[in-house]
Symmetry: C2
Subunit: 435 residues, 2 copies
């Protein structure tokens, strides 16, 4: 029978890769918890409609859908491409029972049917944190802070990564003040979103194709070239624009007070595509700009109500594991969860089988990672096996163990050994010498 390969764009997590994945997830979990978030999760699949009704167009085009045979109720399913629709569904279901603000995090496995390429796979893990029930800028700041807090904890400095921050609502007001119609805004968002991937001349050409009015085009190009919040101030012509601007200034002030101001910059081109964002939005990039965004998020005050729930404000972000791992590898900051064996029990006498198994069992029940050889081979081969499994200590049980209850304990790091009473050792393995 021919071997069947894995599906392209998926990953096999052999123990070495799994140890890295667990280390990343554990870091996400710890930083979430210290920032006051609690963990949730939903199913890996939902009704297809949950995604087609509200996710961005790009995401909908990448759904892995499952025909309804299995659901047996006439509705297609889809593997989750993001967890926010599930979050909105879950929160809407219990909105009156949940004390606010709801501060939740999750580390979902997500699947998108896209062409695999550097930094993009068809299956990945994404850290999500969300704060639901607060319209305060403090919540937006806490969301961005939590993302930076994690990256900073890995050793990434403000010279390595940057959070580019803007406001969708402020941008909308600015564009309308320039003369754009509300129905043209989506087109401009797409334009700005694509800006960083284009050269200046490519962008000029593309923008001219999208905006036929020369005056409007010129105004948009000047807005796109804005580098700082100060430059924007004279352009504020409505209360809504001034409110969005003031919130953004407050956001930067709060991030500075939280000690991460140097990781944050204003960038008017950050719009987060066509998804459900309504207020402050941000993306985190490597300063070297060799990679896609590490993280993206923002405020989405209308999502819950658009999915049949009440009007409840919300803000949050998602950070995938694929780009993150590329960056950490590049910077030499990739680590993995340590795994080790405390004891390898070597059987030097076939009469000892039962005694050896008893010792193994006693050590394990006290929490020590313990192994032994299934094969009755020589002591030398068993030592090799212990070394191959990175055992910290070996215990040799031989003739003396039968005669006088003695074992030989060896520290595999420094080679030192000691004769011990088996019974006393099993009663208190923590007090072993050289450990």
């Amino acid at each position: 029978m021919p071997k069947i390969p894995p599906v392209k764009g998926t990953r096999d997590f052999y123990p070495a890769e799994m140890a890295i994945r667990n280390w990343i997830a554990q870091g996400w979990r710890e930083v979430s918890q210290r920032n006051g978030f609690v963990e949730y999760d939903g199913p890996i699949f939902e009704y297809l409609q949950l995604y087609t009704q509200k996710s961005g167009d790009e995401i909908v085009s990448q759904l892995f859908s499952i025909p309804d045979r299995a659901a047996r109720d006439g509705r297609d399913l889809a593997i989750r491409p993001e967890i926010t629709p599930t979050l909105a569904r879950m929160v809407n279901q219990q909105i009156n029972a949940l004390p606010r603000p709801i501060k939740w995090f999750s580390i979902p496995r997500l699947c998108r049917a896209e062409r695999p390429q550097r930094g993009r796979l068809r299956e990945f893990f994404q850290w999500n944190i969300d704060i639901i029930g607060s319209d305060s800028v403090l919540a937006d700041a806490e969301s961005i802070f939590t993302a930076i807090d994690y990256l900073r904890s890995l050793g990434l400095k403000a010279s390595d990564v940057v959070a580019r921050i803007s406001s969708r609502s402020m941008l909308a007001e600015l564009l309308m003040a320039l003369g754009f119609a509300r129905e043209d805004l989506d087109k401009i968002y797409v334009l700005l979103d694509k800006r960083p991937k284009m050269t200046e001349s490519e962008f000029s050409k593309y923008a001219a194709e999208q905006i036929s009015d020369a005056d409007l085009l010129d105004k948009m190009m000047r807005l796109e070239a804005v580098q700082s919040l100060d430059e924007l101030e004279p352009m504020l012509q409505s209360d809504a624009a001034r409110k969005g601007y003031a919130d953004l200034c407050e956001l930067f002030k709060t991030l500075k007070a939280l000690g991460v101001g140097d990781y944050c910059e204003f960038d008017i081109k950050i719009v987060r595509g066509l998804a459900y964002y309504t207020g402050p939005v941000f993306e985190i990039f490597d300063r070297g700009k060799s990679l896609r965004a590490l993280c993206g998020g923002g405020r989405y005050d209308n999502l819950l109500s658009s999915m049949g729930g009440p009007q409840v404000p919300a803000t949050g972000f998602g950070m995938g594991d694929v780009v993150l791992e590329l960056l950490l590898a590049e910077k030499g900051l990739l680590r993995s969860e340590a795994s080790h064996l405390d004891f390898f029990v070597i059987n030097a006498d076939t009469e000892l089988d039962d005694k050896m198994l008893m010792a193994v069992s006693r050590l394990r029940s006290q929490g020590y990672a313990t192994a032994f050889s299934y094969k009755k081979t020589g002591v030398g081969k068993q030592f090799k096996q212990a070394a191959a499994q990175n055992a910290r200590h070996t215990i040799v049980m031989g003739r003396e163990t039968i005669e006088s209850n003695q074992i030989t304990l060896k520290n595999m790091a420094d080679g030192s050994q000691k004769e011990l009473s088996l019974d006393k050792f099993l009663e208190n393995p923590e007090e072993i010498p050289n450990s």
Copy 2:
């Protein structure tokens, strides 16, 4: 817009349910590690063919399949209903690079399109451990021991759960010695597998329908009624039967030496359906028999070679989370991962915003789970919020914090409080009194 419900047979893990799921997974992980297993994982979907070629018929009929549009290479995909085919694929891919025995564990999310019922859902988590590259009975014993080691660590006693153990290879030899043809064996396996779910008279009727030869039927019924290994001894008529019997006796002896003999019983009716098992097989049940099997596994020496790899022996098991959780709830043994907040910082003075944020940030960067209120409300309301979030301590920052750098630290458990210097506290929060 109408609310879209979750798909039947899936679970929403709100924080309380997630804490239980994490506690179960953490227990699986710890017991795996102390028994010398290392973690791996594969993708959530594979080519459909990986499952249709080797899994049991029941599993194939329950596949969630995904049409090939997304894969774009003419082959359908399926969400994994079990992880063993992925394991076999991964091991076959690197068989020459992996030192044996390969002792791996995984905690995959699995999906099966079946009718949801008590103990069976369409999405669940399953602890898998496998030992590949050893044909020793010690490996089978280690597999069964690991399952029991976990259950025992939860507080389940030999009076609560039992591992029922038999041997597929020995049973085959016994049946053929009675006169059954090799091609009839699958029929008998199904018969025996269904036995525990039927009354005696239902079973007699069903068996008579399946076995037309009265003499063979009578022999099968006498075999099925066998209660102990001793009763079987006179029935061993081939070397292969005697080998299977001797291995089974050795298996029980080893489990006894490992200290879990009282959890183990021989049961000739254990065959594990029509899946890929070739030697010792087992299932673990609650003694009360109110639930489905908690765990099932056995030896599968031909799977790797049947999937295009070399002939390598293997043994292992799977334990799902659904039945386990039902049993633990029934016995009052269900726990959850503790989550708490170390500090809730209360802002009693609006002039303090920046100072409060700095304190929050400093505490978090030292690893303390810390929260504050987004709303500028009264101190009393903030205390209530701290209590609702199970904060261990509150820190009140007020007028004194501005005047003389003083904060009030309150232990929320006993209500005691203390005035402290903010700077000193932030330098060493671990030395806080009453913590």
